[in-house]
């Protein structure tokens, strides 16, 4: 499993097992993740937490990769 997948799994499993962590996560997810896992998500990123139930699901639409600047991708080379 990739490191980032592992991290998400750790967050979810910890929240399932530990009601106080789950409460922290719902209240302030960035702070909870920082204290539990040492990962610091920067100020400019807003992280929102939602909890599904057995009959309420969330489909998250990520932002489109087309919003990325092409200069970030293009290899700088001269020929």
């Amino acid at each position: 499993m990739t490191q980032q997948a592992l991290l998400q799994t750790q967050i979810i499993n910890k929240a399932w097992e530990d009601p106080s962590f789950k409460a922290q996560l719902l209240a302030d997810p960035k702070k909870a993740i920082k204290e539990a896992l040492g990962v610091i998500i920067p100020e400019h990123i807003k992280l929102k937490m939602v909890e599904e139930s057995s009959d309420v699901f969330y489909l998250v639409l990520p932002s489109s990769p087309s919003e990325r600047s092409p200069e970030n991708i293009q290899t700088k080379i001269t020929w």
Binding site: T2, Q3, Q4, A5, L7, Q8, V39, I41, I45, L47, V60, P62, S63, S64, P65, S66, E67, R68, P70, I73, Q74, T75, I77, T78, W79
Partner: protein, 309 residues
């Protein structure tokens, strides 16, 4: 990059000799010429580096066995031809900041190119028939690329914008008494030039879209869009970052690499140069696809992938 590293000394000679000749131009064209030449001098940090233009005669030594001095002269001729044709491009693109002295400068550059090549090829040489052909190819390509949509309809024509480059390769073969190889070598070089143009079009697509210039990548995106209206920026970005057009674009360049190796010419440097172009296109296409797959998993997942060691 052995195709560059192995010829650093020779490249220095090419630029020294080019500077020596341009310095003899009547003022102010000597200063303006040196300034213009500097923009392409590989030793200058922010210069445009047209390696194939400067190095092609050296890369062909495996088959031509020409002396280094002749390769330097043919390369200097190439440099002057390149500068001349770049000025033609600037004039055609109607750059309003163009200094009117660029036109007499272009004429001096063209004259110097001709003096070098006339010193090797008398008026009845076979070389001049190819000179005629390559200039015709260049004019056809630059005049008609938009209307004919050459990337889609006749891709070899996208290479013909750089046909004057073949003056040095054909000249080298005529000099070494191997005219029978001209057809195969020009076919080889045309395919390398297609890929070179494709690499440039990938880097330049945004500028070309804004300025209305012809661009092979935009042509491919336009064809795939099945629309009659002009391409919008959103359409282009979706094609690149969501629909993976770079994979199909890169496949064309990769096919060129397979093809040139079937031509069985012993040209390891030229093949290596072409591989460099392909590798960079593939790297970018793969990066786009990887980023898309990460993005699909959500913003947090994407951010973690870019920021966690």
């Amino acid at each position: 990059m052995p195709w560059y590293k192995d010829f650093e000394k020779e490249l220095a000679q090419v630029f020294m000799e080019s500077q020596r000749i341009v310095a003899t131009f009547p003022p102010p064209l000597n200063h303006k010429g040196l300034s213009y030449l500097n923009k392409f001098d590989i030793h200058q940090e922010d210069s445009s580096k047209n390696y194939i233009c400067y190095l092609l005669p050296f890369w062909l030594k495996e088959i031509t066995h020409l002396k280094d001095a002749d390769c330097v002269k043919l390369s200097v001729g190439n440099v002057f031809a390149m500068l001349y044709f770049f000025i033609q491009d600037d004039i055609m693109d109607n750059k309003t900041t163009l200094d009117r002295d660029q036109i007499p400068l272009a004429n001096l550059l063209h004259m110097q190119f001709l003096e070098i090549y006339r010193s090797y090829f008398p008026s009845d040489s076979l070389f001049w028939a190819y000179f005629h052909q390559y200039i015709i190819e260049w004019t056809d390509s630059v005049s008609n690329e938009h209307q004919q949509d050459y990337f889609r309809t006749n891709i070899i024509m996208t290479a013909r914008k750089a046909s004057p480059l073949k003056l040095s390769s054909t000249g080298a073969l005529v000099l070494s008494g191997q005219s029978e190889l001209i057809s195969t070598l020009t076919n080889f070089i045309d395919h390398v030039l297609i890929t070179l143009q494709m690499a440039d079009d990938w880097i330049d697509w945004m500028d070309d879209w804004e300025e209305g210039n012809y661009n092979g990548l935009l042509s491919m995106i336009n064809e795939e869009s099945h629309r009659d209206e002009p391409l919008t920026l959103d359409l282009i970005k979706n094609a690149i970052f969501v629909r993976g057009v770079m994979k199909r674009y890169t496949d064309i360049a990769s096919a060129n690499h397979t093809y040139i190796q079937t031509l069985e010419l012993n040209l390891p440097y030229l093949i290596s140069f072409h591989k460099t172009l392909i590798d960079h296109l593939i790297k970018d296409a793969n990066q786009i696809e990887e980023d898309k797959l990460l993005q699909e998993k959500g913003g947090l997942y994407y951010w973690l992938s870019k920021n966690m060691i």
